[in-house]
């Protein structure tokens, strides 16, 4: 069959399922999530075997890509836990606060409803398949998944296991559609189907982000790069600054909420930089600094223009000494990606100004940027961190997978 026609038919199935799916009770949805978790466990051998095929074919991939592709027993167990956790979260569908009454007697309220059909386009990590299917199902959305070709066997196996488990407990056919055709044209076609898909969520690197946003006719919520800064203020607790900055850079440098650039007030630079520089060097971090930084940290090299505003996702940190907080905020405006920004200061007025004037999905005081995360915020499982300014910004959880409808109760009101 022609690819376009094939994508249309598969996607239309999702659209068709979306209405019965939106009306399912919490009980049925949770039963399906539990069944899916159990099916992952029962079929672990099948998943490992499929993953083996992908790994055998992964001769051209970088070590980091192979790592993301590998399904260890821990990661398979995490998929199960993730599904159980989503089952335990409150159902986001339904009432959204009370109703209000108008002078003419009309009662008005808001109700949360599913978005409809959500398209997920992702790379490498096959556990994303289970995570996103769980979130979409709980929020009453049908999902059309398109994973990377490098993970095709793993993703297909997982999607088949989840689909069967879900259907066995009454989830409508079409609720989970996995596009197993590795042809890139399938993505292009998918992104044109405004009639069948309501929202596209791309998860992956910059190339994927750009390909999706430039092609899509469907609304996109991007989970784009994080160029996160910490500004160490003149009134910083230096010991705290050491610990927070070390954590933000070293704890997991490959994530979008890791610190990529450190801005230091010139008054504290001479006391702060040599010691944090030593600690970071010992942890294997390469520092690329402004000229003054290089004079204070023995192992630092000079940063080039391109290092400011860059998402290294690696053991590299850009460091700049600034004259004051205004200079730090100006740098963040020019080079930040509005993902996560943090200040270390004991001065409350300074902290308040930073919180007010800096614009990002999360702005922090005296905390590691690594906390910008749905679980860490106490919001539960998430799709990722949205860097889009509309609909969802920051951790995108179950509530952000819904939209609203107004309901209006009258007794014959007409408009004058």
């Amino acid at each position: 069959m022609e690819i376009r026609q094939w994508v249309i038919e598969r996607t239309r199935q999702a659209k068709h399922a979306s209405r019965p799916l939106s009306l399912l009770s919490t009980e049925v949805k949770n039963k399906a999530l539990e069944a899916m978790a159990n099916a992952i466990k029962a079929n672990e051998a099948t998943i490992v075997e499929a993953n083996r095929k992908d790994l055998d074919a992964a001769t051209q991939l970088s070590r980091a890509m192979v790592d993301r592709l590998t399904l260890t027993p821990k990661r398979i167990a995490d998929m199960q836990t993730g599904l159980h956790d989503v089952a335990a979260l409150p159902d986001p569908i339904g009432s959204n606060g009370g109703m209000w009454k108008r002078p003419n007697g009309l009662k008005i309220g808001r109700v949360r409803v599913p978005i409809g059909v959500i398209g997920i386009i992702y790379e490498s990590r096959p556990n994303v398949t289970a995570d996103t299917v769980g979130l979409c199902l709980k929020s009453g959305n049908a999902v059309v998944l398109r994973g990377g070709s490098e993970a095709i066997h793993s993703n297909t196996a997982i999607a088949n296991i989840l689909t069967k488990a879900a259907q066995d407990v009454g989830i409508p056919e079409g609720a989970i559609i996995f596009l197993e055709n590795p042809d890139r044209q399938a993505v292009t076609e998918m992104l044109s189907l405004t009639e069948y898909i309501d929202l596209i969520i791309p998860r992956g690197g910059e190339g994927l982000m750009q390909a999706v946003t430039s092609q899509s006719k469907i609304p996109v919520i991007k989970h784009d790069k994080g160029v996160c800064h910490i500004y160490v203020d003149r009134d910083a607790d230096i010991q705290m600054a050491q610990e927070v900055c070390f954590n933000a850079k070293v704890q997991r440098p490959g994530t979008c909420n890791a610190m990529e650039a450190l801005l230091v007030h010139e008054h504290v630079a001479p006391t702060f930089l040599p010691s944090i520089g030593k600690k970071l060097h010992e942890a294997g971090i390469k520092i690329r600094g402004c000229p003054k930084t290089v004079s204070l940290i023995p192992n630092a090299t000079r940063a080039i223009d391109n290092d400011w505003g860059r998402e290294f996702l690696d053991l590299i940190l850009a460091v700049k000494i600034v004259a004051d907080m205004d200079a730090a905020m100006e740098h963040i405006v020019n080079y930040g990606s509005s993902h996560t920004e943090s200040i270390i200061t004991k001065n409350k007025a300074t902290a308040q100004r930073f919180l007010k004037e800096v614009d990002a999905s999360a702005v922090m005081v005296n905390a590691s940027t690594r906390f910008n995360d749905g679980f860490q915020f106490g919001l539960g499982a998430e799709m990722g961190i949205s860097t889009t300014r509309i609909h969802a910004r920051g951790p995108m959880g179950l509530e952000e997978l819904t939209c609203q409808k107004f309901i209006v109760l009258g007794n014959g009101q007409v408009r004058e």
Copy 2:
């Protein structure tokens, strides 16, 4: 200057203004809104003269278009009132509920912030210029306006008056950008500037909607057509059904929330349809019905396939007799535009099912569809009725012109 370059430079000014604008106090914003209202009043003669030029040139336009283009003294007064009303509304920027505390001591909260730069693309009605500038300013957003070429003199005059008034009280230059170049290429260029514009809101007919959504690289919130139904149930209060249906069709047929199709339960059709048919006929409404309808209403003609799901915006109504509510809901799924749907029934269980199962920006019981409106819902002034499923759905007011950021207060927390 080349058009692309010109659009980039104008739009960049808006982007540049958006940061200082986002930090303005409520007091300054309200002062600007009042000054703008007063300036409209003081410069009424200039506006009327500019509007005269547009009307003189409007030899090719339909009567309805000329009507929308005309600025009567009442409409100019309404622009002033609108700006005063927006000044009186609460500022949507700032705190959004309290903060919550995590086990590690982190305090987390949400704050509403402006979206940034909003692009408005609209047709004919020059009063949209004042209405949208007021809403964008109050919500701290810069605005890039692109009106229809048929209203170019009126829009330019209004935009200049508003801009001068705003700047005189301290609103940053660039906060209000009106693209006065009538070349269509200016729109195409505008829709490509993802770096400078955060959201596009098109306001106008189907042609404009399609042109914008197919071209835009920027997120779009559509205010699309309303194919609104009323379903008169077997348990309807027939007197109420008469009044509500008459109002929904006749009170202002050219609006998106007017009723376009009436669905009637077969049990009540023989009592209900002849009388409502007579009333509607007397009001000049032409009825296009299914065969059974035609046999019950003397002046009705047979509907063609194309009449179902059509937004007439005119003195025309499609009428269909259905076997039960399931058939009515099926018709709404197939032909509705998810804008506004209403049921007339005394049966509470039936009403609850309709409210739950019908999907639209507003679902109503025993009320005229004409109530789907920001003012009527008590939400204040609005941009229009969003038919998009993400970010805003239904009346799009000040809150929907904001996004959020998370704020996080720590005392040195690091992630394990």
